[in-house]
Amino acid sequence: MSAQFPDQTAALAVAPRRTGGTIRAVFAFVPLALVVAIAVLAPVIAPYDPVTSVAASRLPPSPEHWFGTDAVGMDILSRTIYGARIAVQFGVIVAVLSTIGGVLIGTFIGLSESSSGVLGLLGRGLNQISSYLLAIPDVILGIVVVGIMGSSDFALTVAITLCLVQAPVKLTRVEVLRVRRESYLESAKLAGESSFRAALVHVMPNSIGPAMRNMPLIFGNCVIILASLGFIGIGVKAPTPEWGYMISSGLSSLVLGRWWPAVFPAAAVLLSVLAIAYSSRAIPRMWPLLAVRVKRWNPIGRKARA
């Protein structure tokens, strides 16, 4: 999770080339769009139902079953395609939840941490807690949370969000510390705006930038953690076509030389993770272009400068 910080700021410093830059930046999102498209169109693309036996078990890849069938005769191609659906579902929910939560908590910490009194104490406390939680390995935190809450989709979402919310908290906090010194905040205060309103209207829109750019990375990490937890056997429930679980249940046949039940979902994890990483690396290039566009359409839009 800590690797989310380094190269973003460096890439931001490089201004995008105007000519052709937009097209290249847009093309960089093709891999991500492909993963999402497969997830959305899964019922259309998948040739069979992913959770029922459709043929004899353990068939090798053939024209009828491109990726073969698994130990109970379910079609691996369909399951791999539906696996994208599961991964994207979790990824989107976790990315949205942890970005929203992270921005709110980060703004609160950034605004309250240097004030005295109960609020300041709370802010500093939250900041410390967030630093400590950052030290817990993702998979370990996942194991513990799922263990205590019992295995369910909700527990998994909470577990992964708890792992990944720390990055937006830290990113937003740093941004808020910078924004706090801006003179428009002082003007707002002099104009008689309440500090709560100022936080909502002025501070937050101007400090969400890094957290927003971090969102696809959360998405990618969510796919990784979900697959890891599924792989060690504490992910989603059994027949659900989840990649990590498919890989681990294909392992026993792998040892016996039947490679297809484990390899295809593993390849799916590999490709989707690489696709997401590739596209998220393009975001710093895309961001200024987007900001310029939005500003042109909406000259007074404050949020465009975020």
């Binding site: 370990i140 194991i143 263990g147 205590i148 295995s151 593993a266 993770v273």
Partner: protein
């Protein structure tokens, strides 16, 4: 002679203060973990009771609650927990009735061994590739190294391992099946399998273990090298431009010394990432252990989830993070030793 002692303290303050901070860190973290796992929605008692095939009566619920140490008010629990923490007692596992601390520490060494081998391998690979990157002007080679480093942190380690298994076990049949370390029971002296086998002289088992380690360690090296390499290449690119390097070249220093100096200046950020990745390596080791059939802390964690073993989960979390905190301590100390500018309070001292 009082001044001498004081001076000596002042010169060594950086590591003394950092060492003193560790127990404080562990205590604070354990307290946070205590509240975190109690604030989570959902009730482990209900989950545990539901997983048993008995009639649910209020008595069984109360009994399970007491077993898990979840009876009484949260402050009573906290006092009890703190008391146990200072005595190094984090409760007994519900499954085996063995103290959690014993259970985790009996499994931790084998996991640590795997992590250390993976890390060392990644570190060496990173140094070699970094050297190749600086030494040879071939643009294709340099671009290849850069491209590899751009895979940082993305691919989960067990996926890489699956492909290794398919290639080297299923297709080529060069390496044995991923079914554990070595046949037979391992004599336990230190808990580190390789060390134990050397001490007790079980050479054939040592051989088997080493062969069984090839694939998992290779998978970890392939996965974690790019993270270190990105940092190293960044550092090398930066340091190559420095006047120090130019002066060394202009002054006709031997090539070897220029390289040593270059690497020494580029390494601190690599070591920082090293420490930060320790956590994700433990996570990676858990999946790798489950894939290759090694018993380790991962096995313990999964077993505790399946049996809703609340004390074991709590102790497991606290001990794993303690290990991470110690790793960060070591990284901090190494970095402060390498680069005195990183020591706290050095600014005031030089003024």
């Amino acid at each position: 002679m009082r001044t001498t002692i004081r001076d000596r303290y002042r010169a060594n303050r950086w590591w003394i203060l950092r060492l003193v901070r560790l127990p404080v860190d562990i205590f604070v973290f354990a307290t946070i973990a205590f509240f975190l796992i109690r604030l989570l929605p959902g009730d482990p008692v209900a989950v545990a009771v539901a997983s048993r095939n008995e009639a649910v009566t209020p008595e069984t619920v109360a009994a399970v609650r007491a077993q898990m140490g979840l009876d009484g008010s949260i402050w009573e629990q906290l006092l009890h927990f703190w008391g146990g923490l200072f005595r190094g007692n984090l409760g007994d596992s519900l499954q085996t009735s063995i103290p959690v601390v014993t259970e985790v520490f009996s499994r931790l060494p084998s996991t640590l061994e795997l992590i250390l081998l993976g890390l060392l391998g990644a570190f060496v690979a990173c140094l070699v590739l970094g050297f190749v990157y600086v030494r040879f002007a071939n643009p294709l080679l340099r671009r290849a190294v850069r491209f590899y480093s751009s895979f940082a942190t993305t691919v989960p380690v067990f996926v890489v391992a699956i492909f290794l298994i398919v290639l080297f076990y299923v297709v080529l049949a060069w390496l044995p099946a991923p079914l554990g370390r070595a046949a037979g029971t391992l004599p336990v002296v230190t808990g580190f399998p390789i060390l134990d086998e050397i001490i007790t002289g079980s050479w054939s088992m040592l051989g088997e273990t080493l062969v069984a380690y090839i694939m998992p360690v290779a998978a970890m090296v392939i996965t974690y090298t790019p993270n270190l390499l990105t940092q190293l290449i960044g550092g090398l690119d930066r340091e190559l431009e420095q006047t120090t390097t130019r002066f060394q070249v202009a002054a006709g220093a031997p090539r070897r010394w220029i390289f040593v100096s270059l690497f020494r200046r580029s390494l601190p950020s690599v070591i920082v990432v090293f420490g930060l990745f320790f956590g994700s390596l433990i996570g990676g080791a858990v999946t790798i252990e489950s894939l290759f059939g090694f018993g380790g802390i991962g096995q313990l964690g999964v077993r505790s989830v399946q049996t809703v073993d609340f004390p074991a989960l709590q102790g497991f979390l606290i001990i794993v993070v303690t290990v991470c905190l110690i790793a960060m301590l070591v990284v901090d100390l190494i970095n402060m030793a390498l680069d005195p500018r990183r020591r706290p309070g050095i600014e005031e001292a030089s003024r």
